[in-house]
């Protein structure tokens, strides 16, 4: 295979109330491309999805679930930091989870901005649309209006169970992130140290005082 010209790595957040299907969406999305070897979420920060976006571009997506911190919305900065986009998920069968959407969006925007100060791209997912009880979504125009008002780049009716619209939603988000990216590159900090397990290349520093 010819080496692609460009590779992008994006961190995406998946947020929303308890039980709206965040983990199922991640599993479904990652699962179908990469065998059934995907394991339980315990001990795992994020799931990785690789997209061959076009012949020149590979996009790697880290999908971050909100772990045990979700219960009271107390996510750490570690969770938000450097994310480039997010899905906010609600359950079409439970109106309360839709009411929480605006709160999640406000919360996200107050805690996370792109390096250029703009809010990150967020796609709204109306999950569990397979259940036929989507009273909420009967008015697509209303949803469009809602997304416009609250700064979502788009919305999708999804079903993790039936695999409806999840790829489409992701493509929509990635498209917006890619469109934003050119102005972001400049802000990457030089000289950052990332200590890692086993540092084979420990520089035997010529400046070390030991002779």
């Amino acid at each position: 295979m010819q080496a692609p010209h460009k590779e992008h790595l994006y961190k995406l957040l998946v947020i929303g109330d308890l039980g709206v299907g965040k983990t199922s969406i991640i599993k479904r999305y990652v699962h179908q491309n990469f065998s059934s070897h995907y394991r339980a979420t315990i001990g795992v920060d994020f799931a990785l999805k690789v997209l061959h976006w076009d012949p020149e571009t590979v996009v790697r997506l880290q999908l971050w679930d909100i772990a045990g911190q979700e219960r009271f919305g107390n996510m750490t900065r570690v969770y938000y930091r450097e994310a480039m986009g997010a899905f906010i998920v609600f359950d079409v069968t439970r109106p309360a989870t839709f009411e929480a959407v605006a709160k999640w969006k406000n919360d996200l925007d107050s805690k996370l901005t792109l390096p250029n100060g703009k809010p990150v791209s967020v796609v709204l997912l109306a999950n569990k649309c397979d259940q036929g009880k989507d009273v909420l979504i009967n008015n697509g125009l209303k949803m469009d209006q809602f997304c416009k008002e609250h700064g979502f780049v788009g919305w999708f009716e999804t079903s993790a169970k039936e695999n409806i619209n999840i790829d489409e939603a992701s493509r929509c988000l990635v498209k917006h992130i890619l469109a934003n990216e050119c102005d972001l590159m400049e802000s990457i900090e030089p000289d950052i140290v990332k200590p890692h397990l086993a540092s084979p290349k420990i520089v035997s520093c010529s400046s070390c005082a030991k002779s």
């Binding site: 990469f34 772990a67 450097e82 030089p190 010529s206 070390c208």
Partner: protein, 651 residues
């Protein structure tokens, strides 16, 4: 929401400071069911870092010293006949003597609202925030979401006093020295308006004029630590971060300079071989002497026979006296004593001094030319990194959640549950309590030390060089025999702790008097207030202070567990931050406590790498190995000091 909290855990951890968070992560990692709570709305307790508005809220909280603690007694009904309660304190007594000074000009006609991401809400908020906000409670809901008190405020909080953002916060307590203040805002505003139209053009010409309003506006750029520490690049915390792979949540910068302050001048201390040889202030002979001495410090333990005689003789004297015998010029003695060993002139023994020097040298070169690292976004990130790890392994997090009391079984003498603010009883086997949560009854016999702290926002570095982005540590020895050395850490904007064009300066020492009394003499030596520079004077080299904060923090690190009254054996105690530079104390506490409850378990082994798990079948090997060491957003690894390779390569 609290009704959904489970009522059965293995470990309950109260407080989200660094030792508690490491402990919680270790327990969760080894399979314990962990509940981790903090009564505050943010992570970290006294280890937290704040945006500028967040810090103003914190200041307000302590200046008001509010006694509006509602003594609830719901818990009483819950205590059974064969049980006793240990009531926890609902008031934090660890912070005192908070004083704020603002020297930057406060042109109140400007829009002084912190810039947030919610652009669309701005219009509705601007006026409320800027001027006549005499009533601090008049904030609108939008404003709360605009002001990242810090990023941990719960999503659904209602606005209340501790999310106050307005700059008026410091009105009440600001003491003296300030030329313009908002006490009579209306007139102030009038005059500044008039002035500003007249002076607008000249204002524009003056470079580096930073007004208070800009600090407010750029408030999100600040991450101001309550505790000022660095990581020794071979210290216990770095080792733990690497071992547990929690390091993937954090990024660091090297401290770029070690400075010393001598005879009124700030100088760079040569500590590496390259520094020594490039130093223009040292003579060739001095360079040789210093290299010889540093080599000796590295090797004296490995070649005991060779050096034994030489150094044995000095075991009984202080390190500073020992240095005098080592053919070092006074200049070099000063460097070694204060900037490398960072020990006290009067009290440190030769052995301690040599050990400290050796440790310093040992840490050199691992990641850079100084022994120290600083976490991007501040020290306050570190507890959160461990909290994230705990949560990833199933730990449950509740901020703004107080525990009213511990429930002790009379017969066994063991603690068996806690009762939270809602009266819910939560059972557990083990309990870790950060000591500030204990009531005065529990702590009646405890003697505390204090830490004096100052935080300054300045407009330039204490030592100007061609690069603006320097991170420096400077030790200023105590003037009187009984006073302590002051540690000064200056952070530049690339550490993500302050806005562009400013520096964040942290001063720390063991308290002798109040923080301001202890630290102001050093502040005056190194800095001048911004206001004295109204007449532009390019000659003045001292950095100017835009804003300053002083406070004392309680240091409970030396308190023995036996000092607390009547603690059941399964209630463990950990301390708040200590005054030291490194973080070894926090790691040691967490590890010791973890070993007590999980004697045969590994302490924070690395978790599975998510990318390994996902990519274990179809994906190509090359992709797997490339990805794991690259942090998000950095497709250009050439720029990063990416020590360490992917895990695959080490196996």
């Amino acid at each position: 929401m609290a009704d959904s909290l489970p009522s059965e855990f293995d470990v309950i951890v109260i407080g989200t400071g660094l030792p508690e968070s490491i402990f919680a992560a270790a327990c969760s990692r080894s399979g314990q069911r962990v509940l981790h709570v903090d009564s505050r709305s943010y992570y970290g307790g006294n280890w937290a870092s704040f945006s500028f508005s967040g810090l103003l809220s914190w200041i307000k909280e302590y200046q008001e010293n509010n006694d509006i603690v509602i003594e609830s007694s719901i818990w009483k009904e819950q205590i059974l006949e064969n049980e006793e309660a240990i009531v926890l304190s609902r008031k934090n007594r660890t912070i005192q003597n908070v004083e704020v000074f603002c020297y930057a000009s406060q042109n109140l006609h400007e829009d002084i609202e912190e810039t947030g991401a919610l652009q669309k809400n701005h219009a509705s908020v601007t006026s409320a925030n800027s001027t006549e906000a005499a009533d601090p409670n008049c904030l609108s809901t939008e404003e709360v979401s605009l002001s990242p008190l810090n990023s941990e405020v719960t999503a659904y909080q209602t606005p209340n006093s501790d999310t106050e953002v307005a700059p008026e916060v410091n009105d009440a307590e600001v003491t003296g020295k300030k030329e313009s203040h908002s006490d009579d805002k209306t007139s102030e505003e009038e005059t500044s308006k008039n002035k500003s139209t007249a002076e607008d053009s000249t204002e524009q010409l003056k470079k580096n004029r930073i007004a208070y309003s800009q600090i407010i506006k750029e408030g999100r750029r600040f991450n101001i630590d309550l505790v000022s520490k660095l990581l020794y690049s071979r210290g216990l915390l770095i080792d733990l971060l690497i071992k547990s792979n929690v390091s993937r949540y954090a990024e660091f910068k090297n401290i770029t300079r070690i400075l010393s302050f001598r005879e009124g001048r700030v100088e760079q201390v040569p500590c590496s071989r390259a520094d020594v040889f490039n130093n223009r202030h040292l003579t060739v002979i001095e360079k040789r002497m210093l290299m010889k001495f540093l080599t000796f410090c590295m090797e004296y333990e490995e070649h005991p026979d060779e050096y034994k005689g030489e150094y044995k003789a000095y075991e009984t004297i202080t390190f500073s006296e020992f240095l005098k015998t080592q053919k070092l010029t006074p200049n070099l003695q000063y460097f070694v004593l204060h900037s490398i060993a960072m020990t006290s002139e009067t009290t440190s023994s030769t052995i301690d001094g040599l050990k400290a020097t050796k440790n310093f040298l040992h840490c050199l070169g691992r990641y850079g030319n100084t022994p120290f690292l600083f976490p991007l976004y501040g020290q306050g990130e570190l507890p959160q990194c461990f909290c994230r790890m705990c949560a990833v392994f199933g730990g449950i997090y509740c901020l703004r959640h107080s525990i009213q009391c511990l429930v002790v079984d009379k017969e066994s003498g063991k603690c068996k549950a806690v009762i939270d603010q809602f009266g819910q009883r939560i059972n557990s086997k083990h309990f870790l309590v950060e000591d500030s949560y204990f009531s005065e009854n529990t702590c009646s016999l405890v003697q505390y030390r204090q830490i004096s702290r100052a935080v300054l926002i300045t407009d330039r570095s204490v030592l100007k060089t061609n690069s603006e982005q320097q991170i420096s540590i400077l030790t200023v020895p105590g003037e009187e025999p009984e006073t302590f050395a002051v540690r000064v850490i200056e952070l530049c904007s690339s550490t993500m702790t302050c806005m562009k064009g400013t520096y964040l300066v942290h001063l720390t020492c063991t308290s002798f008097k109040t923080a301001r009394e202890d630290l102001e003499p050093v502040v005056q030596k190194l800095f001048i207030p911004y206001t004295e520079m109204e007449i532009e004077n390019e000659e003045v080299e001292k950095p100017r202070i835009l804003w300053a904060l002083y406070f004392n923090m309680r240091d409970s690190s030396k308190v023995s567990r036996n000092c607390y009254n009547d603690l059941p054996p399964n209630v463990y105690v950990c301390s708040g931050p200590d005054c030291g530079l490194g973080n070894d104390n926090a790691v040691k506490q967490a590890e010791t406590l973890f070993q007590q409850i999980c004697p045969n378990e590994d302490f924070c082994p690395p978790p599975p790498n998510p990318e390994d798990i996902v990519l274990d079948e179809e994906s190509s090997q090359s992709e797997a190995s490339e990805s794991s060491a690259i942090p998000p957003n950095s497709e250009t690894p050439k720029e990063n000091t990416n020590i360490g390779n992917s895990e695959e390569s080490c196996e």
